[in-house]
């Protein structure tokens, strides 16, 4: 009965922007080399892969689901992309096709298990986490797939107008993701399902099919993320992307997307990603012990979730 959840939500987004700026001001004062354009680009580059993955994860979490497999899928698709490029025929294109196809395939498995066989997403994607990692090691023979044609590195290392290609990929994925969620029937169905699956079904939404597509697209996006990372590394590395799923989920949750589903935006996810990137970068430059950094990140995640819970209660009370 209060103003409206929309307003509250805006304030929450806005608070994250303020927090990010405050964070930047503090680090500018205490961390040598933080306040520079080069470092700003550096921060964005460091979060690019996380940011790409976070778009798909936002959609997954909006349906009240979760995808724990993205880190392993990043490794598997990176290896697949590198192997496709190794033949030397149109290396960049073949790498992209291979990575996206393999990523999509993992998404098909996740989506089928979760949506149609009703395996809890936590379990089905946890299984995929170990399976995809195992596959990455098997197909690569446990070694990095390197020594690739130079065009393989384009996606990860090219710079356009001073902006690294991975940052541009992240920006493009976020723009498209935001548009899809806000403007398309598919996006509206995602919100409806997360808000109330049964009501959405009784209003004619094919809930299973929508959820299936969310996991499939998330797999495809993980393929783009995996290839971006492999391209940057110049090799397909089977143990790449370890625990990326946790970073990605953290960025989405800090960005205000509710783990209960139905509420969240890509704009929030962008700010969650940047906030964590600035935190990590600033603590690094301030020479803070990496173990202490982990603690700081943990504290931030908990604070974000508490903030989300409080705003939820306020609205529930209204």
């Amino acid at each position: 009965m209060n103003g409206s959840s929309v307003r509250w939500h805006r304030i929450a987004d806005y608070m994250l922007v303020v927090a990010t700026v405050a964070e930047a001001v503090v680090f500018s004062a205490i961390a040598p080399g933080f306040f520079s354009l080069a470092n700003a680009v550096n921060v964005l580059l460091s979060v690019a892969v996380t940011g790409i993955l976070a778009v798909g994860m936002t959609a997954v979490i909006l349906t009240a689901g979760i995808d724990l497999s993205v880190g392993s899928v990043v490794a598997l698709t990176g290896v697949a992309g590198a192997m496709a490029a190794a033949h030397g025929f149109m290396p960049a294109t073949m790498a992209l096709i291979a990575a996206v196809l393999v990523g999509t395939a993992t998404g098909v498995v996740n989506g089928t298990l979760t949506a149609y066989l009703e395996v809890p997403a936590f379990i089905s994607t946890l299984a995929m986490l170990t399976i995809a990692r195992g596959l990455a090691f098997i197909v690569s023979g446990g070694r990095s797939i390197g020594d690739l044609p130079s065009s393989f590195g384009a996606l990860g290392r090219a710079v356009l107008l001073g902006i690294p290609a991975p940052v541009l990929v992240m920006a493009a994925v976020m723009l498209v993701g935001s548009f899809v969620l806000r403007r398309t029937v598919f996006g509206r169905h995602i919100y409806a399902i997360g808000g109330n699956t049964e009501a959405a079904w009784l209003a004619g939404v094919n809930t299973k099919r929508v959820i299936w597509w969310v996991y499939v697209l998330n797999g495809a996006l993980a393929g783009i993320g995996g290839l971006t990372l492999a391209s940057r590394l110049g090799a397909g590395v089977p143990n790449a992307g370890q625990q990326y799923e946790l970073d990605v989920i953290a960025a989405v949750v800090v960005g205000g997307t509710s783990l209960f589903g139905g509420r969240g935006t890509i704009a929030g996810t962008l700010w969650g990603t940047v906030f964590i990137g600035v935190l990590t970068n600033g603590l690094n430059l301030a020479n803070v012990d990496p173990y202490v950094q982990k603690i700081a990140l943990g504290v931030v995640i908990v604070l974000a979730v508490i903030g989300d819970e409080i705003s939820r209660r306020k609205r529930a009370a209204g």
């Binding site: 009965m1 209060n2 103003g3 029937v185 598919f186 919100y191 409806a192 109330n196 079904w201 009370a317």
Partner: protein, 495 residues
């Protein structure tokens, strides 16, 4: 014990929920609280039960001021609320629930035998001799769960019992049993605060009534001195047109036909819905009414039998199929099945129509807003903005939002499952008028209702179900309360 509230004020952002409301509840009395949705009943109950704190005003128990920070404080003072949505732990037994948090112990361990004996004693006291203390709550009927909840309050020696629409989930026989328990508790000196929309019940059970409207106290009076229409006038602030809107013309052509349909607990059900006609589907809870409606809506699989819509075979395999064929369902539980509560009114209305409102997968927001606005205004949904979350609307307005959803699609078969449950008197009359208008415009309407006077008042034809079977059909002229009751109860009594 006497619980008194004085000059309570409670403000939520943008709304004054209570504006100087007072109430005095005395032991040995049943005090009804009535008012339309949004009148402030639930806020008042929240304050009395410690779930909300007033911005101003005082609570006193036997003359001394008390302050409740949490429901726990209120419980410690002997005040308990029996919620509409019951708050038992389904996986625990009746006895474990009754003594949850207050288990009898011996040397630090729960004394289960003592607990069972104590539970038995409390249940016996309430006349619930057939309720087994060892039964798992999940296996019980709603009525038995409610009794368990009451037993829990009695075991905790509650002196004030607040009941929020307790009969909404009960069948008639269960309601009678509940009223016997309420009367007994009253005679034992407990104060019962009884919130209800149903005036019949208020007159049956209560001796005092407090009526709220728009957050203000309208009246507190002994029920003996008030007539029904006076109370309704107090609640809505205006005279209601009495009676139900009647059909003017003849029923139209047959639209939906069921031949020997079996689904869930329903066996071999046959019926016909015609244009311009309202058919009431009556029966006890569990008789299969809702399941049959779900099957017509493609939301439950059909084991046997066939359906025809407008002469053509109709085999919906999902709600989507049914919706596309022009069938609509207004589900029983608006909050769980009808609405995405956190979503905007606009989104809730347009949800099933998004494919039609979109081009190449993109929602045409101008068309969406135009379509939604048209029906939200036509149905007089009271809201300052289409972008308000559906959660913020009263029950009646929420129901109108669900209805607007189907009007936008021009659905021609409308299945209303308990359309006025939990809706205040004023909004009920509006819903009735809308249903009649839809029928007059050519829709075929099926109305499931547990409220017999409502079913008799609205229906052009009644179909009765019992134990999963269609057991009879009565025209409006044949239908009397006694005949319908005989059908749904299975009494061979001549009507």
């Amino acid at each position: 014990m006497q619980l008194a509230a004085e000059a309570l004020v409670k403000r939520y952002p943008g709304v004054l929920a209570l504006d100087g409301v007072g109430i005095v509840v005395r032991g040995g009395e049943v005090h009804a609280v009535a008012g339309e949705n949004g009148a402030g009943k639930s806020t008042l109950m929240k304050i009395l039960s410690g779930a909300a704190r007033p911005d101003a005003g005082t609570l006193t128990i036997d003359g001394s001021i008390v302050r409740f920070e949490t429901p726990h404080d209120a419980q410690a003072a002997g005040i308990r609320m029996i919620h509409q949505e019951l708050s038992l732990v389904p996986e625990l037994s009746v006895a474990e629930n009754i003594f949850l948090g207050a288990e009898p112990r011996r040397r630090g361990v729960v004394d289960r035998e003592q607990q069972t004996r104590d539970a038995r004693a409390v249940l016996d006291r309430l006349g619930q001799t057939s309720l087994d203390p060892g039964a798992r709550v999940a296996t019980l009927s709603l009525a038995a769960r409610q009794m368990t909840e009451i037993a829990k309050a009695v075991a905790a020696r509650a002196q004030v019992l607040i009941m929020d629409e307790p009969t909404a989930i009960l069948a008639q026989a269960e309601t009678d049993a509940l009223f016997r328990v309420i009367a007994q508790l009253r005679d034992e000196g407990v104060a019962v605060v009884y919130i209800s929309h149903r005036l019949d019940e208020i007159f049956r059970v209560a001796s005092w009534i407090t009526v709220l409207r728009d957050g203000r106290l309208v009246t507190t009076a002994a029920l003996g001195g008030l007539s029904r229409s006076e109370i309704v006038r107090f609640m809505v602030g205006r005279e209601l047109a009495t009676g139900y809107p009647r059909r003017t013309g003849e029923p139209g052509a047959e639209l939906l036909r069921l031949d020997g349909v079996s689904t869930g607990p329903v066996r071999d059900a046959s019926l016909v819905l015609r244009r311009k006609e309202i058919v009431a589907l009556v029966g006890l809870i569990g008789s299969g009414r809702t399941e049959l409606a779900l099957a017509m809506f493609g939301a439950a699989p059909i084991r046997a039998g066939a359906m025809r819509l407008d002469g053509a075979s109709f085999q919906p395999r999902s709600p989507r199929d049914a919706i596309d064929a022009g069938v609509a369902l207004l589900p029983e539980d608006r909050k769980r099945q009808g609405l995405v509560l956190m979503g905007a009114i606009r989104e809730n209305v347009s949800l099933p129509s998004l494919p039609e409102l979109a081009r190449a997968g993109l929602v045409d927001r101008v068309r969406e807003r135009a379509g939604v606005t048209r029906w939200v205004e036509a149905l007089a949904v009271r809201t300052p903005s289409l972008d308000r979350p559906a959660r913020q609307l009263s029950g009646g307005n929420q129901q109108k939002v669900v209805l607007a959803r189907w009007m936008l699609r021009h659905s021609r078969v409308l299945l209303f499952d308990e359309p006025t449950r939990g809706i205040d008197v004023g909004a009920k009359a509006e819903i009735y008028a809308l249903m009649r208008r839809l029928a007059d415009d050519g829709a075929a309407i099926l109305m499931i209702s547990s409220d017999l006077p409502e079913a008799l008042g609205m229906a052009d034809r009644l179909i009765a179900m019992r134990n999963g079977r269609v057991v009879g059909e009565l025209s409006r002229d044949e239908a009397t309360q006694d005949r319908v009751a005989a059908l749904i109860l299975g009494e061979s009594a001549a009507a």
